[in-house]
């Protein structure tokens, strides 16, 4: 279905690109012009993927291909500081807000940052003199794989704004950086292509939270998409750096959220990627990590929740390209109603990546007979001295545990909720930064309450304390 519609759809994108490119931020930079044009050419060649593509076998993007999206106009989308307050969380340092993909300076604050650390708008950075040769020029577009993924190519073609973070050698950014990408749907379906570049040099340290949400956009099932967000983040972690990245998606049911995180790790870098996918009509979460230097380690941790007719697809690719690296993937899925989940986890161990230690686990709970999960672990090993394991489980809520709890006087709904929170708590417990973990826990608790149909008043305060050994509780 995608192929036949693609031709006319691509015409629309061609017009949009012709209009966008000559006026986009950084258009005078030769390297950037080349990057955008090259990416658009690649998108034209490939078109939108169809379910015949192996990487998209379980996920149809026909709804995206068949909708005519426009680019939001500058300054479009109204968001007040008062509306923003409901989404802010304790403990964040720099707080940047993007409305329909554009940096909203008046709603953002970077706070105090160590000398030399840059946290700001990509569009602004592209207009600065350093953009010709600095870290931006070296890294932007270098890591994201637009050959393999045409959405990535589409993003690069329309890449203009998002965050640019630069942490120089040895600098430690203490408080987590909060990025809030808010979609404010207008009268016509609109798309945005947030592009983030995060560069942490040798021995730098950074924790960053990318959160995607929408103000409205609940069109109800079947009415069609009102917005399409296609974000790409390139994260280059220098030698011995310590980086934590957390993606939170909690859009309304009328929104399609595609996102790609491309991690490039140098020698001895320790990187954690956390993803909490709590809503959206169609969610695709790509994480592609390359352990390029010796002795690096990488944690890829995720929790996805689906209800109604939501579709959540997780596409993980971990490449071990150097010896003595360790990777850990843990993804937990919770699906209710007619929701469908996908977990595609591939580990590739390159020829010279001896002593690789790679592990992948995907656990799923199906809460209704109509919920569905497709899980596909894949190992591709070209080295001979490696340790690789993978496993996937699909189950229902443990009836034994439910009876046990009920026999202790805990009512059925509360017992269910506790079990779901415990399941989700596994993923949350892996987030080491306390403010991020607490923020994430709060959102997950709300999402679980929605799944179990708990009334708002039932969100008893002491349920926060259920996690065993939670350092935040002592």
């Amino acid at each position: 279905m995608g192929v036949s519609t693609a031709a006319s759809a691509i015409d629309i994108y061609r017009e949009l690109f012709a209009e966008f490119e000559p006026r986009a931020a950084g258009c005078r930079l030769p390297w950037l012009r080349q990057l955008r044009h090259g990416a658009f050419a690649r998108f034209q060649e490939q078109g939108f993927p169809t379910t015949h593509d192996e990487d998209w076998r379980f996920t149809s993007v026909a709804a995206v291909a068949n909708t005519t999206f426009r680019l939001p106009l500058a300054g479009e989308g109204d968001l007040s500081a008062a509306q923003l307050r409901q989404w802010q969380w304790e403990g964040a340092g720099a707080r940047l807000v993007f409305v329909n993909g554009r940096y909203a300076a008046e709603l953002s604050s970077t706070g105090p940052l160590p000398a030399g650390v840059v946290v700001g708008s990509l569009a602004e950075a592209l207009e600065a003199p350093e953009a010709a040769t600095g870290a931006l020029a070296q890294h932007l577009g270098r890591w994201a794989d637009e050959r393999r993924d045409s959405f990535c190519a589409l993003n690069t073609a329309f890449a203009e704004d998002g965050v640019f973070v630069y942490v120089p050698r040895g600098k430690v950014v203490e408080a987590p950086v909060s990025l809030l990408f808010v979609i404010v749907p207008g009268s016509q379906p609109a798309m945005s292509h947030p592009r983030n570049l995060i560069v942490v040099e040798e021995q730098g340290q950074l924790a960053i939270v990318e959160e995607y949400l929408s103000l409205g956009g609940d069109t109800g099932a079947g009415v069609g998409l009102c917005a399409f967000s296609n974000a790409v983040t390139e994260l280059a972690a220098g030698a011995q750096s310590v980086v934590s990245h957390c993606r939170i998606e909690r859009s309304q049911p009328g929104i399609c959220n595609l996102s790609t995180l491309r991690l490039e790790q140098a020698r001895g870098a320790s990187v954690a990627s956390h993803a909490l996918l709590l809503g959206g009509a169609l969610v695709r979460n790509n994480v592609h990590a390359v352990l390029a230097g010796e002795g690096g380690d990488c944690l890829i941790n995720g929790l996805f929740l689906g209800r109604g007719v939501e579709h959540v697809d997780n596409f993980m690719l971990v490449e071990h390209a150097s010896p003595h690296c360790a990777s850990r993937q843990f993804y937990n899925g919770l699906l209710d109603d007619c929701a469908r989940g996908v977990y595609h986890g591939r580990i590739v161990v390159h020829k010279d990546a001896q002593k690789t230690d790679a592990k992948q686990t995907n656990r799923n709970l199906l809460l209704s007979d109509d919920a569905q999960i497709d899980t596909k672990p894949q190992l591709e090993i070209h080295a001979d001295d490696v340790k690789c394991t993978h496993g996937a489980t699909i189950g229902q809520l443990d009836e034994e545990a439910l009876f046990y709890m009920r026999s202790r006087g805990i009512a059925e709904a509360a017992a269910r909720r506790l079990l779901l929170l415990a399941f989700a708590g596994e993923s949350l417990g892996r987030i080491r930064e306390a403010p991020v973990r607490e923020h994430a826990s709060r959102l997950v608790r709300q999402a679980v309450l929605r799944i179990t149909g708990g009334a708002k008043g039932e969100e008893a305060g002491h349920e926060n304390e259920f996690a065993p050994g939670d350092p935040a509780q002592t």
């Binding site: 046990y404 026999s407 006087g409 509360a414 079990l419 415990a422 259920f466």
Partner: protein
């Protein structure tokens, strides 16, 4: 005043297979009863039916607990009425900490009874005291419920919950299985500390050994889904001597020791 628990001609089956074939039993407050029997006689089924496990179909009979229809209650409602089952196989609940679980059950029961929730000042010393009585390490409370506990730790944890919740009727389902003699003595100490004129305890067991430490007032022998004999503690000793073989043919309790 009526009995605490009255079981009247109880029939229960699972998947069309009848397991309880007419159990009648009366337990008064202040009494300790032991239900003994060979494997497959229906002991655990009886315990689980009383705790309102819904995998069993009740085909006939009635059970009244504190004058109310127990068979109409959900598991949590039975707990709110004061019924407690110490599980034969305590369930592991990863991700839910033991201390908050015990506290949540205590508060759920209190709330259902219209009482205020326990404050930390009430709860913590009470928990400490019971843990000391059972010789439990404090670390166990911070861990997930029964997760990675040894067999003995799990059984102690059941008794701990019982001690904190202070039920009116406690049913111990094979609490002795898998316990060494020291652990058994500790568990028995915990159970004996619970004996009171307001409370009844039913000890379900295959072996007589635990009854050396928890001496029952009455012993019932369950064979093939029916109570074959009832008597005093000496019946347990007799069974230890002769085994269950002599009981295979059900004998009316009135017929005494005739075979």
């Amino acid at each position: 005043m009526g009995a605490l628990l009255e079981i009247e001609n109880l029939h229960a089956s699972v998947d069309g297979h009848e397991i309880l074939k007419g159990v009648t039993l009366r337990v008064n407050a202040g009494e300790v009863h032991s239900v003994m029997g060979p494997n497959g006689s229906g002991k655990s089924t009886l315990a689980q039916v009383l705790a309102r496990r819904d995998t069993y179909a009740i085909t006939a009979g009635a059970v009244r607990f504190r004058g109310k229809d127990l068979l109409a209650m959900k598991p949590e409602e039975a707990a709110w009425e004061g019924l407690f089952l110490a599980f034969q196989y305590p369930v592991e609940i990863p991700g839910v900490s033991n201390v908050s679980f015990v506290r949540a059950s205590m508060n759920a029961i209190r709330k259902a009874c219209g009482q205020p929730e326990a404050t930390s000042l009430e709860f913590v010393p009470r928990l400490r005291e019971k843990m000391e009585l059972l010789g439990m390490e404090t670390g166990l409370m911070e861990r997930s419920v029964n997760d990675g506990f040894s067999g003995g730790e799990k059984k102690r944890n059941e008794i701990l919950q019982m001690a904190v919740l202070e039920p009116t009727l406690a049913i111990l389902d094979e609490t002795d299985s898998g316990l060494d003699i020291d652990a058994m003595k500790t568990v028995a100490k915990g159970v004996n500390a619970m004996r009171s004129p307001e409370r009844a305890i039913i000890v379900v067991t295959h072996y007589q050994r635990l009854l050396n430490y928890i001496v029952p007032d009455f012993v019932h022998v369950l064979v093939d889904g029916r109570i074959a004999r009832s008597g005093g503690p000496e019946l347990a000793l007799e069974l230890e001597e002769s085994g269950y073989g002599a009981m295979e043919e059900p004998v009316p309790p009135a017929a005494g020791a005739a075979s």
